[in-house]
């Protein structure tokens, strides 16, 4: 055989290559390879599929108790089916339930306060430590230095109140909500029958944007048109609620109170109406100064308009006057709450009434506790407590006063020197200064009045109420005050709201306040502009920001691309030399907040800067942290004589 030379070698190789190719092609590999490539490049993730079923539950985030149906895939809750009820609060429930930053087990502070470093500990250890601290305070005769701060009235806050009281302290406070402010000012929470009213007069309460109990209001709103209900909204800036109203009465910043007084003047002096409220005779003397003509000068609403509103209000069959400015961040002076509610009593409407939270009653107290309880007096409200009060041990129940109170900075200083226990599912600004955080649950994980929990609790979390009951069980002294077997037992037979008695005019407190407010709204050469909050309905006053889907739906003139926007009237901006999109600083007598962008729009009144609330949080999960600025830092901090909370609605500012 001939030796294989170079050419033969090439032939051999060629045969092999061509053969290989032929074999490959005829085996169908190229087509399968293409198929594989198609599948590989088109691959994308599909969430695991499970058995689909539905569980009914009840949203317990407000008193509406909306029925929800939770769509489950095996044991995962995948969708809150609201079937045309509920509000974003209920819809957001899944995001809290499955939040990536939920606290899994009790956390003990590790390092400096506010540093956000924690060590997970067991429930037993946490509760034992806290109980020891509580006993220590009790033995050192510092019972009055124990305090509790709750977000809103509910079962767990009632338990906290009871715990604090049983320890001999009166320091149970609530953040400034519609409920707490009206309870302080009127002795009860006004209940409005929006379903059957025929005339609604709202003083800055954005009742259609998530205010109060959104579901029942929105349900009623559907029928307003058919029933001919007339809705009049008195507000400075144009909001969606004002736009949906039949009539918007633009008032000068912060003068809703005077409008109410002016209407009251017409009702009392010109129509001879009387209120059955105690102290009415004394209150009437204040309104003498507020003739429609004078009020027109203060509010910018013409005297005829005031008379017209008063006339329509008095002639309506079931009118309501609604107080409580804002959506979730409510701020109204006691004088205003009283004046607005007085309108209801002046026309003796059946569509508005007062009711109270029943609470859990007074606990049995030990002798020392009862001595301490009697010897000390409570502050009138949370802001006053933060400013003037003292505490060495404080329980925070889902609240975030550090961010929401205008005295946040004062609170920070005080929290640094106190023993702080937070009960909440996510770490927020206030919890950052805690010594212990006890993880609580969302309503989907707890037993509700509709039945069992939808899902199992996350990690070692417990219902907030259960955590407090467990803590009480560790403190011998107060154990007797909590005779219930567990939180689940309480859920079924919790006390409900009860009607409050007749309301009273606190004349002494109101007199000085009216004078003060009159001064506030007058011209100020140093601070020529008015800063007024405008909440984004989904963000509210801050809680919503922890939810990523809320962030997804913030519009471009609230917060976008890392910048908070404020709204400024066009003419005002012209006068101040501010152009669209410009970065400005806002300064009040309390300080300065910086670097917000200005959007020029005529939806805000001349001379007004409207700033969103809820931004500028330091913690509250990575979704809320370090976004924008917190205007509460510079908002006016005059403490209301009745509610004990700052009335921060109107602040005099200037811009740079």
């Amino acid at each position: 055989m001939k030796k294989i030379d170079r050419k033969d070698f090439l032939t051999l190789t060629g045969g092999a290559v061509v053969g290989g190719l032929t074999g490959t092609v005829f085996s169908g590999a190229p087509f399968d390879a293409l198929q594989w490539l198609v599948e590989w490049t088109q691959d994308q993730h599909r969430p695991p599929v499970g058995r689909e079923h539905f569980i009914r539950t009840v949203c317990d985030q407000c008193r509406d108790r909306c029925e929800l149906s939770i769509r489950m895939s095996d044991d995962r809750a995948v969708m809150v089916q609201t079937s045309n009820t509920a509000c974003p609060l209920g819809q957001n429930a899944l995001q809290l339930l499955y939040h990536s930053e939920r606290i899994q087990q009790p956390l003990k502070r590790d390092g400096r306060k506010g540093s956000g470093r924690w060590t997970p500990v067991s429930w037993d250890q946490a509760l034992t430590d806290i109980a020891a601290k509580v006993r220590e305070k009790a033995q050192a005769n510092k019972r009055h230095l124990i305090a509790g701060i709750s977000r809103e009235y509910n079962l767990s806050s009632a338990l906290l109140d009871r715990l604090v009281a049983a320890l001999g302290s009166r320091n149970s406070y609530y953040e400034a909500t519609l409920e707490s402010l009206t309870t302080a000012a009127l002795g009860g929470v006004p209940q409005y029958d929006f379903e059957n009213t025929d005339y609604i007069l709202s003083f800055g309460a954005r009742i259609l944007e998530g205010w109060g109990q959104p579901n029942s209001i929105l349900k009623a709103f559907k029928g307003w048109k058919e029933r001919g209900t007339r809705f009049v909204m008195a507000e400075t800036n144009m909001s969606r609620t004002a736009s949906l109203a039949d009539e918007w009465v633009p008032v000068k910043p912060g003068t809703e109170l005077f409008l109410a007084l002016g209407i009251a003047y017409v009702l009392v002096r010109e129509k001879g109406r009387n209120s059955a409220g105690t102290g009415f005779a004394g209150w009437v003397t204040y309104i003498n100064d507020f003739t429609p003509e004078q009020v027109a000068g203060i509010t910018g609403v013409s005297a005829e308009k005031i008379r017209e509103i008063a006339d329509a209000f008095s002639r309506a069959a079931r009118p309501v006057a609604v107080c409580g400015r804002g959506i979730r961040g409510i701020s109204s002076s006691a004088a205003e709450i009283t004046a607005v509610y007085a309108l209801n009593s002046l026309v003796n409407t059946r569509a508005a009434s007062l009711s109270q939270f029943a609470g859990l009653g007074n606990p049995p107290m030990s002798q020392e506790a009862s001595q301490s309880y009697d010897a000390n007096e409570a502050k009138r409200g949370l802001d006053e407590f933060i400013k003037d009060g003292n505490f060495e041990l404080v329980f925070i129940n889902g609240a975030n006063p550090l961010h929401r109170s205008v005295y946040g900075e004062n609170l920070k200083a005080k929290l640094e020197n106190a023993f702080v226990v937070s009960v909440m599912p996510l770490v927020n600004d206030t919890a950052l200064y805690s010594d212990y955080i006890l993880p609580s649950l969302s309503f989907l994980e707890t037993r509700t009045s509709a039945g069992d929990a939808v899902t199992t609790p996350y990690g070692q979390s417990r219902p907030a109420g259960q955590a407090l009951l467990d803590l009480a069980a560790k403190i011998d002294e107060v154990r007797g005050a909590f005779p219930w077997g567990g939180f689940a037992e309480l859920v079924g037979n919790a006390p409900a709201m009860r009607p409050a008695g007749n309301f009273a005019f606190n004349n002494e407190a109101l007199k000085s306040q009216i004078t003060l407010l009159k001064k506030l709204i007058s011209e100020d050469r140093n601070y020529p502009l008015s800063l007024i909050p405008c909440e984004h309905p989904l963000v509210g006053d801050g809680d919503g920001l922890a939810f990523p889907y809320v962030l997804k739906n913030i519009d471009n003139y609230t917060y976008s691309l890392g910048k908070l926007w404020v709204l400024i009237n066009r003419q005002t901006a012209d006068a101040e030399g501010v152009s669209e999109g410009e970065r400005i600083d806002i300064e009040s007598s309390r300080g300065e907040i910086g670097s917000v962008r200005a959007h020029l729009t005529d939806t805000v009144a001349p001379g007004v800067v409207a700033i969103p609330l809820g931004f500028g949080q330091r913690a509250n999960t990575k979704y809320a942290e370090d976004k924008g600025v917190n205007p509460k830092e510079i908002m006016s901090a005059e403490i209301d004589p009745l509610t004990g909370c700052a009335d921060w609605w109107l602040t005099r500012v200037k811009i740079d």
Binding site: L34, V38, T41, Q42
Partner: protein, 412 residues
């Protein structure tokens, strides 16, 4: 290794100072192109300044500009091989190379621009052919025409490296090169057809089918884009060859060739001007009002009407400089003419994309601004730098300018 470094060092030092600076800058840009290109391909388009409101950015401008300017290759080929304008012979290699690179980098930019580069080939396997013979999606047509024309340019380009003195000595390759050259008119004809088709698609298809967008919808685009490519493209080819000549300080292309092509370019630019004027007129009087908007409002905003004005000014100036003999034969005006011709067409693409994307869709929305990020600039400029480097390399090592070699041979 050391050898290679030494070789590169010597090679680098053999150039003049200006060229060395240029080389450093170009290589730096290519480096950035590689770094940021990897970032874009692997971590996505989030690093660009494009957004849901501004979906087409700089790379699309680059694509359209390159396709239009690369269109000079088919025009030149068409006139040379079909009309037998033999004077164009000395510049044809250069134009084919530039055309090839324009199309290559159009495809490269497209791959960068799509969100799923690994699915880039879906355009071939799942084309959106509509119910009839014509493709339903103009982008399908563009992708196919672009690819086919790219292949044609590639074939047209083959004789160029084959003429390299080393390869030319191999008889087989020499004959392949020779006969391919003879048969090039087929390629030129096919290329002309395809190029017509896809230039038209880019105009009529890319923008004309966007019927819901008043800033873009105008059937006239189809007739407007083809002369744009022919006029602007030829100007661009002239410009490249001219700059090459200046840099090499040699007469790379005879002056008659320049002037012949410049005349062609000038005439095409006249057609472009007329069609462009008709386009603006129809858009302003028929199509924009049909959407209840006004032309001057649509061309407000950041980029606005001045771009259209500049587009026209450039074209008119180029027409004057290129068509009038007394201007054309002065080097200054000749250079200004070809530059403005290419720039005018590039500007028209800029207007379409840059301004078109910024127009608000809702009356309550403002015009949108667009600032390309470093990633976009790097990929864009890096791509162009690569083109320049390839062109430089080809000019040095390949018989890119036969005229030059002819002269050199004569000298020897």
């Amino acid at each position: 290794m050391k050898k290679i470094i030494d070789y590169l060092k010597n090679e680098f030092n053999s150039y003049s100072r200006n060229i060395r600076i240029a080389l450093v800058v170009l290589c730096a840009l290519v480096g950035l192109f590689i770094i940021f290109g990897i970032q874009i391909l692997f971590w996505g388009l989030g690093y660009t300044d494009m957004s849901n409101l501004y979906p087409f950015g700089q790379w699309i401008i680059g694509d359209l500009g390159l396709v239009a300017l690369g269109g000079g290759a088919f025009t030149t080929g068409f006139f040379l091989y079909i009309f037998r304008v033999e004077k164009l012979e000395p510049i044809i290699n250069s134009t084919v190379l530039i055309g090839f690179m324009c199309y290559l980098f159009t495809l490269v930019f497209l791959v960068f621009d799509i969100g799923q580069p690994i699915r880039a080939w879906f355009g071939y396997t799942y084309p959106n052919w509509g119910p009839h013979l014509m493709p339903q999606s103009m982008l399908t047509e563009v992708v196919w025409c672009l690819t086919l024309y790219f292949c044609i340019l590639f074939i047209e380009l083959i004789p160029l490296p084959l003429k390299h003195k080393v390869l030319d000595k191999i008889p087989a390759l020499h004959y392949i090169g020779h006969y391919m050259h003879k048969l090039m008119w087929i390629m030129a004809a096919a290329g002309t057809f395809l190029s017509f088709f896809h230039q038209g698609s880019l105009g009529g298809g890319m923008w004309g089918v966007l019927y819901a967008k008043p800033v873009w919808f105008d059937p006239m685009y189809f007739f407007w884009v083809i002369p744009a490519a022919m006029g602007g493209g030829t100007s661009f080819m002239l410009l490249c060859a001219y700059i090459a000549g200046k840099v090499m300080k040699k007469e790379v292309v005879p002056i008659e060739t320049f002037h012949t092509l410049a005349r062609i370019s000038g005439v095409m630019l006249i057609i472009f001007l007329v069609t462009n004027a008709i386009h603006v007129y129809t858009q302003a009087t028929i199509y924009v009002p049909a959407a209840d908007r006004r032309y001057v409002d649509i061309f407000g905003g950041y980029y606005g009407l001045w771009m259209v004005v500049i587009e026209f000014l450039f074209t008119i100036a180029a027409i004057v400089f290129l068509n009038l003999k007394k201007f054309r034969e002065q080097e200054r005006f000749f250079l200004a003419g070809i530059s403005l011709g290419a720039l005018g067409v590039a500007m028209s693409k800029c207007t379409v994309v840059l301004h078109g994307s910024s127009v608000p869709n809702f009356p309550w929305r403002p015009f949108i601004g667009y600032n390309p990020t470093i990633q976009e600039w790097s990929v864009f400029l890096g791509g162009l730098a690569t083109m320049v480097l390839i062109y430089m390399w080809a000019a040095k090592y390949l018989p890119l300018f036969p005229h030059l070699h002819k002269h050199e041979n004569e000298e020897h």
